[in-house]
Amino acid sequence: MKKLLFAALAVALVLAGCGGGGKSDVIKVGWLGALTGDQAVWGENELNTVKMLFEEYNAAGGIEVGGRKYTLEVIGYDNKGDPQESVNVTKRLTGQDKVVAIIGPNSSGNAIPMAPILEKAKVPDIATVATNPKVTVQDGKVKPYNFRVCFIDPYQGAVAAGFAYDRLNARTAAVLYDVGDDYSQGLREFFKVNFEKKGGTIVADESFNSGDVDFRPQLSKIKASNPDVIFMPYFFKEVALSANQARDLGIKATLLGGDGWPSDQLISMGGKAVEGSYFVNHLDYADPAVQDFKTRYKAKYGKETELNGFLAHDAVLLFVEGLKKAGKANGEAIAKALEGIDVQGITGRIHISPETHNPEGKDAAIEKIVDGQYVFQEKYAAQ
């Protein structure tokens, strides 16, 4: 066995060594995200998007930086959705692969521990859908190498609460959330605060544990409190399961969710149970600005892009603009260039604030599920 291990080790070292030698006119960009586990659909979608866009840039002759043409190469690694793996991957990307910037990851828990490594290596990271405020700002100080292209949890919670109160005329709301998940706890907190501030009442606040599949005990309790809306800030698998179980129990309340919802699988599994539900999204799928990307993605990969693809698209866009503005393929220069940059992305205008490194003032889109389709309702900005 020991011999076998050593053999594997040797092979792996050789393989790793081969990837190292790149040509000088190639700019290497890292990507990390989940390629295995619950959220692999999204990770794969992001990496595919980055690959496709880079190929397109390269086919068009590359990108001119400081008077020279460069081609782009992406090095993507699986972080299994595990923060410890994200740290390893970030060290590998910055240290060994010598990337100039990193795109991803798609969750806050994985983005936060990357910060010290990025700072040391002076490599900027553009997160796709990491929505926790602490990804870019800690204790009132902005993290110099962390950026993102999405809006943040407090904003999303405020949008959901505002929409429920003002547009759906809900006065009572119940919340069901995943107590073991940072994203879910964040949205729940900001929804509750904002809904109560508006004058609404939270009549039930129930939780489950990551990995649970049966929510009927909590839903039965929620049913007894008879809310106007039920806020479900978690991911599509649990959304579909809990929506089905809620309808089985005879709950008629409108269901409301966040950006963890949109997925083909939500419709195929949630079926009738999620009909008429609303969720907060990063963009409107019917927006003319996103159609071109949608068709290109489908033509190349034979399937529809998920939500993450759009944000990965804009992260790439932001990186390329930053690279051009910096005028050299250097992480530190790109990070400087990204501050205050103003780019028209397909998910909206992305103006990176130097104080927060967030795309300030980005609108949220509200979608409704009608006949198994996502139907855009309105752009909604929380006050």
């Binding site: 792996a12 521990p113 800690q138 204790d139 998940d181 879910s184």
Partner: protein, 310 residues
């Protein structure tokens, strides 16, 4: 290969090593099997983060030196293990196992709900004090302490408990006391590992300390070999690095990992170093035993052949 990347992997291996050494005392030398050591790591990580994090950050800490964080994290984990031991150490076999699993999960669930420590959203902004040197020193101290302990009278009593509990009791060894001592020391080790982990990641979340983490630690102990300190050291190094080396294989690496675990159990059940130590005398012993075995085999074979001829 780049040094910061390798250093990162080595640091992680070093942190795992501390926890594994502790667990090695409990499982390898005392014969108790725990599924809850991630819980002790969590206690160490959170208490350590609380002691050393700056008072102005959110969640706020005490802003005390790192050394105090190490001591505090270790002591806290040890103290909790004492209470757990009082309740569960009388349970046998699988039942002790399931009790530790219950405690480990319970600790994680509690941290999920403690908003003072960030809840499930985690605790960002833990100072990055786990340097390569600090971890190296901690590993050396951990190995030396354990090596001396198992050679002492206390260590021999623990091994006696592992080998034959009833006989040990008849021989006048306070079985419960030695199980407790072993549990507390292993929990302190796990707690200290947790402190280093928190200050390496600079961000902790309860879900980092799940059942999977506990199993991982136990697998490393078994892989390295029960009752061997050098085995635990090697196990921590190899098994922390293995998934990284296999990274190029992405999807398949955990398949190999699972297969390797079975293969080792089936083909070399004592692990890499079961019962052996990589010290000069240990190696001499190993060689001597192997030679004796070969001679005995040859003799038996010769006798058998002789028997047939008659």
């Amino acid at each position: 290969m780049d040094w910061t990347y390798i250093q990162g992997i080595l640091m992680l291996a070093g942190i795992n090593m501390i926890a594994v050494l502790g667990l090695s005392l409990l499982t390898g030398f005392t014969g108790l099997f725990s599924f809850g050591h991630a819980g002790f790591m969590a206690i160490g990580a959170y208490v350590g983060a609380w002691i050393s994090a700056s008072p102005t950050s959110t969640p706020a800490g005490l802003g005390l030196p790192f050394v105090l964080a190490i001591v505090g994290g270790g002591v806290a984990a040890g103290a909790v293990s004492y209470f757990i031991g009082r309740i569960s150490l009388n349970l046998k076999g699988d039942y002790f196992c399931i009790a530790t699993l219950g405690f480990g999960e319970a600790i994680r669930l509690i941290f999920n709900n403690v908003n003072r420590f960030g809840g499930a959203r985690g605790w960002p902004g833990v100072p990055g004090k786990s340097t390569f040197l600090a971890i190296l020193v901690a590993d050396v101290v951990a190995v030396l302490f354990l090596a001396n302990l198992v050679k002492s009278r206390h260590g021999r009593n623990m091994i006696a408990v592992r080998e034959e509990e009833l006989a040990a009791q008849i021989a006048g060894i306070d079985v419960f006391r030695y199980k407790m001592l072993s549990l507390i020391i292993s929990a302190v080790y796990a707690g200290v590992a947790g402190v280093f982990f928190a200050h390496y990641m600079t961000f902790i979340q309860p879900k980092m300390f799940s059942l999977t983490k506990s199993t991982e630690l136990t697998i490393i102990v078994i892989f390295g070999g029960l009752g061997s300190i050098s085995g635990s050291v090697l196990g921590a190094l190899v098994l922390t690095a293995l998934p990284e080396i296999l990274r190029t294989f992405e999807m398949w690496r955990l398949v190999f990992y699972g297969a390797a675990v079975i293969l080792i159990m089936v083909s070399r059940p004592k692990g890499l170093m079961g019962g052996m130590e990589l010290t000069p005398s240990g190696i001499r012993k190993m060689v001597a035993e192997r030679n004796a075995l070969r001679e005995a085999k040859a003799r038996l074979l010769a006798e058998a052949q002789g028997g047939e001829e008659e």
